[in-house]
């Protein structure tokens, strides 16, 4: 209580200092409110809106630099020419690793000579094929090195579609602008187009939570209640009698059937 009293005294002295002769602190406060409410609220609102527009509109523009892909690749055109869909160019190697974005050697299999007369084709041939230089593609889905992601586990073992994570890129006629995060160096597609982090489709974002979302859904492991010894015994018995039927002990990884940091993080 005494601390509060001291505080009140201080305020009184403070206001006194400004030249008001009133001795009652209550009346004093009222008077002041009346006098400065307008500008105070106004400035609060100005500050609020300025920072909101900074955070929502200007910041995203500053954060991302826009880069054009070296060649404007037409997926539709290529999909019509190839037989195996996405896997014709984005395939699994013999050792199970995923090839990702094709290397020049692959392109040359068809583009040994100029095919067609579009400016991009001519540029591709002159700049890269004839000089033997790799095309420096900007990869929208590139993840940090500490993230271990196996295409084989998701596509082969879990049977997922390319579209689930990559969207309908295979149906695009031209490549969109690559927006690079100036701080991290990664594409905007990882955080998602929406700066607030909202998403409509599974492929709108590629952050850890988006992986977890699917992993959690698939194996319904949201209920992580502590097991009673009886429950544990029953689960164990089920596992012994008929292995693989009980999902209670399994993690969300198809490969390791475990949930742990090391499943994804090296």
């Amino acid at each position: 209580m005494s601390a509060l009293d001291d505080n009140a005294k201080e305020i009184a002295e403070d206001t006194g200092g400004e030249g008001d002769a009133t001795s009652s602190p209550e009346i004093n406060t009222k008077k002041q409110d009346n006098r400065s409410a307008g500008p105070v609220i106004l400035f609060f609102i100005i500050g609020l809106f300025a920072s909101l527009s900074l955070g929502w509109i200007i910041f995203p523009k500053l954060l991302y630099s826009k880069k054009k892909q070296p060649i404007d690749f037409n997926h539709v055109l290529h999909m019509a020419e190839v037989e195996d869909g996405c896997e014709s160019c984005h395939f699994f190697r013999a050792d199970g690793t995923y090839s990702g974005v094709p290397k020049l050697d692959q392109c040359i299999e068809c583009h040994e000579e100029i095919l067609g007369d579009t400016p991009d084709e001519i540029k591709f041939f002159e700049e890269y094929v004839s000089k033997g230089r790799e095309v420096p593609w900007l990869i929208y889905s590139r993840q940090p090195d500490c993230v271990f992601f196996s295409h084989a586990a998701h596509v082969k073992a879990a049977g997922m579609d390319c579209v689930t994570c990559h969207g309908h890129i295979g149906e695009s006629e031209s490549l969109k602008v690559y927006e690079e995060n100036r701080i991290t160096g990664y594409s905007r597609d990882i955080w998602g187009e929406s700066i607030a982090g909202f998403k409509k489709n599974t492929w709108d974002r590629m952050k850890m939570d988006d992986c977890a979302e699917c992993h959690r859904m698939t194996f319904n492991i949201e209920k992580t209640e502590v097991k009673t010894p009886t429950k544990r015994l029953i689960d164990h018995l089920i596992d012994v009698v008929s292995p693989g039927t009980s999902t209670s002990e399994k993690g969300s990884s198809v490969q390791t059937e475990r949930d742990a940091c090391f499943v994804c993080h090296k």
């Binding site: 400065s36 307008g38 500008p39 105070v40 609220i41 106004l42 400035f43 609060f44 609102i45 100005i46 500050g47 609020l48 809106f49 300025a50 920072s51 909101l52 900074l54 955070g55 929502w56 910041f59 995203p60 954060l63 190697r93 050792d95 690793t97 090839s99 990702g100 290397k103 940090p144 090195d145 500490c146 995060n181 701080i183 991290t184 160096g185 990664y186 955080w191 700066i195 607030a196 982090g197």
Partner: protein, 741 residues
């Protein structure tokens, strides 16, 4: 409207609220977290297609096959090659770290010419063309002046195409001074030459032996072909073979053996003869071999029986006579016994008497050229170049005596005596060396008595190093012509030390040359062409690769595919044909070497009163001590009882340390007749009293910050002791004084 402090504060509060409601802080937090994982110096492995290249490791004479994993154009991992006759999938710690030698900071990136004083480290870049023409000019002048014999070459090996190209070059140029780096192989070659009349390498059928009597050989410390020895050791564990380790210090090998017998250092030859005494007197020897395939046994028998009774040997060696008798019996009674020698990794050739005495033990039990025994492996004759024509200048030069006295009246049997070179140069008794090439060796580090070696080097006006790395010799050279690293070049790797069958490995480019280096083979060919005359005729090849391909002929394709060429049908010659001596038999008495004189131990430097203790080196797989220095990965594996910070530890028995008033971890000053060094003390029960042990492989002044300036180079503390018969370095230790520092 008055804009006061309140309005401003209110503006800030609004701003704070707005910021909190905007994604800015949250997104920035997330991004900065990711940013911290993306420091530019954080190494990120390349992503891409994996491929494998089969090649051969050349970091030691072990000749292991390697499979290098690559991602795109980057080599990312070296593994042992499965199915390789030497190492079958295994690899040692140095071999595994080879990538640090390829991509590490110690490489010489372009030809360099010295501008400052020697060893000052001031260089200027020079083009290959200028470098070659500068050497050609110097060599041409010397040859014109009739001084071609004053050009010398130190080579890590004398087998395989590159050393043979060097030899050919010197021959046609006119210099007898081709010198190979010495090792225990020299003593073995000489022993096989004197006792079996052959010019061959020793081959040991370890995998099939079942009683291994090792006179100090570091079977698990890098002796012979290290990975093969590890694998053989595993086989012995499975088959129940026995390993007896005889040495004064409990090395890794001794610790893993079935029995460790500590012996007075330097008396191994006496023990071998003592064992022979028991075998002969108890008639445990192989009658068939002795009667049908040996000569001079009776003389040798008398010599052994007269001088080496277990009692007298017990006095010399410090091993109980009972132990000697039991050891001799179990050796002779084993179905496949095998005795080997060469202390530690076999870096020092050692005494010829000792090697011959150990070899005689093998003959006594009849395991020469036998399953599970020792055989003479003649080098496969795949290098068949047309005879090179020598002009008068070359002949005159070649008729000059060698600078090291090898093959002279004094040392008629030896081929190369590198240990005698510094003395020959410093004493100025013979002739000076005007130009010295160094390839595949780092003599300023690896040769004993560093001070004398340095002094001799300073007297050579022109030193040319072919080293890929800035090692001690390169640092003190006038010109460095960097060779491709083994992962960037083709080269044949001849039969590794100790293999019982010939195997030619192929080292092949795993990656493109990373810097402006050139294959040493190519440089020799270019140099010969630049010198013209008979030299360019003798080197008609367009390039080294063309030479190698032509030399290997039909083997080439198989070697490219498999990584090696083996002779699966190879069998050691039958005994009737395997001895090429005068008698056609195994000679127990080595002619012309005074081998029947009673044993005199190799006298080490220093007197007992001033230097009461004995200093011995020890070898470890974690410390590369030859031409290659430890890469950082291997340095990391060195124990902190061996090296702590920059201080090296000596191993000393607690009893001896007590007498000297030394405690664990204390600093001490070590002085030998050759040099002084500050060391730390590590008390070790596994070393005989009176002996101090220091590891080889430390004390580099060159290479990178991970290696340079750490510990002491053992070679600074010891000098060579010439073996009276072979002239090879027989020093196994040196007398030493220890005092509190």
């Amino acid at each position: 409207m008055k804009i006061g402090r309140r309005s401003f504060l209110s503006f800030l509060m609004g701003g704070a609220a707005g910021t909190a409601l905007s994604p800015l802080p949250w997104k920035l937090m997330d991004d900065s977290a990711i940013w911290t994982q993306m420091w530019p110096w954080t190494p990120v492995p390349e992503d891409g297609e994996a491929s494998y290249v089969n090649s051969s490791c050349t970091l030691c004479p072990g000749g292991c096959g390697i499979t290098v994993r690559k991602i795109n154009d980057r080599a990312v991992k070296i593994e042992g090659m499965k199915g390789h006759p030497v190492n079958n999938g295994g690899l040692c710690i140095l071999g595994l770290s080879g990538l640090q030698l390829l991509y590490g900071p110690t490489r010489v990136k372009t030809p360099l010419k010295r501008v400052g004083k020697r060893g000052q480290g001031r260089w200027e870049k020079i083009s290959w063309k200028d470098a070659v023409s500068e050497i050609a000019e110097t060599l041409g002048d010397l040859r014109e002046k009739g001084q071609s014999h004053t050009v010398g070459l130190i080579s890590g090996s004398d087998r395989g195409t590159v050393p043979r190209l060097f030899e050919r070059f010197l021959t046609v140029y006119g210099s007898p001074n081709f010198i190979r780096t010495p090792s225990i192989i020299d003593s073995y070659e000489l022993t096989l030459h004197l006792m079996q009349g052959v010019q061959a390498l020793p081959g040991f059928d370890f995998e099939n032996a079942n009683f291994i009597l090792s006179f100090g050989s570091g079977i698990l410390d890098g002796w012979g072909s290290p990975v093969r020895m590890f694998k053989a050791n595993s086989v012995w564990r499975d088959t129940g073979a026995k390993v007896i380790q005889i040495e004064p210090r409990l090395s890794n090998t001794a610790a893993k053996s079935d029995k460790w017998i500590p012996i007075n250092p330097g008396t191994e030859a006496a023990l071998a003869l003592g064992i022979a005494h028991v075998i002969i007197s108890e008639s445990l020897y192989d009658y068939n071999f002795i009667n049908n395939y040996s000569s001079g046994f009776d003389d040798w028998k008398r010599f052994v029986l007269d001088n080496y009774g277990p009692d007298s040997v017990a006095t010399i060696t410090g091993i109980d006579d009972r132990t000697i008798i039991v050891l001799a019996r179990s050796f002779a009674r084993a179905s496949k016994p095998l005795a080997i020698c060469g202390r530690g990794q076999g870096i020092t050739p050692g005494s010829l008497d000792e090697c011959a005495a150990v070899h005689a033990l093998n003959a006594l039990v009849g395991n020469v050229n036998k399953h599970g025994g020792i055989c003479a492996v003649t080098e496969p004759d795949y290098i068949n170049w047309p005879e090179a024509e020598m002009d008068a200048k070359a002949s005159a030069g070649m008729q000059k005596d060698r600078l090291d006295d090898a093959g002279s009246k004094k040392f008629p049997f030896s081929r190369y005596l590198l240990n005698r070179i510094p003395e020959a140069i410093n004493s100025e008794k013979k002739y000076p060396l005007n130009t010295l090439f160094v390839a595949g060796d780092n003599p300023l580090y690896t040769m004993s008595d560093s001070k004398a070696v340095k002094k001799a080097f300073d007297k050579i006006p022109f030193v040319i190093s072919f080293s890929s790395y800035m090692d001690e010799t390169a640092q003190n050279a006038d010109l460095i012509l960097p060779n491709h690293v083994y992962l960037e070049r083709y080269e044949d790797i001849p039969t590794p030390a100790g293999m019982p069958r010939p195997v030619i490995g192929l080292s092949r480019p795993v990656v493109k040359p990373q810097y402006n280096t050139q294959h040493t083979g190519d440089v020799i060919i270019r140099l010969a062409k630049a010198l013209g005359e008979t030299l360019s005729d003798a080197f008609a090849w367009d390039s080294y690769d063309a030479c190698l391909k032509e030399t290997l002929g039909y083997k080439w394709r198989v070697m490219v595919e498999k990584g090696f060429w083996s002779y699966p049908g190879f069998v050691a010659q039958p005994r009737e044909e395997s001895f090429d001596t005068v008698s056609g038999k195994f000679e127990f008495v080595r002619k012309g070497t005074g081998s029947l004189k009673p044993f005199k131990p190799v006298k080490i430097e220093g007197d007992k009163t001033n230097y009461p203790l004995i200093l011995m080196p020890y070898d470890s797989l974690r410390l590369a001590n030859g031409v290659i220095g430890d890469p950082p990965f291997v340095m990391k594996s060195v124990d902190d009882t061996v090296l702590k910070g920059t201080d090296v530890f000596i191993e000393i028995n607690p009893k001896t340390a007590g007498e000297q008033g030394l405690r664990e971890g204390q600093l001490a000053m070590l002085s030998t007749p050759v040099g002084k060094a500050k060391v730390k003390v590590h008390l070790f029960d596994g070393i005989m009293p009176g002996i101090v042990a220091l590891p080889r492989g430390l004390g580099h002044t060159a290479y990178d910050e991970y290696l340079a300036g750490k510990g002491i180079n053992f070679n600074e503390l010891i000098g060579p002791v010439d073996d009276p018969v072979s002239g090879l370095d027989a020093a196994w230790g040196i007398r030493v004084k220890l005092a509190k520092a």
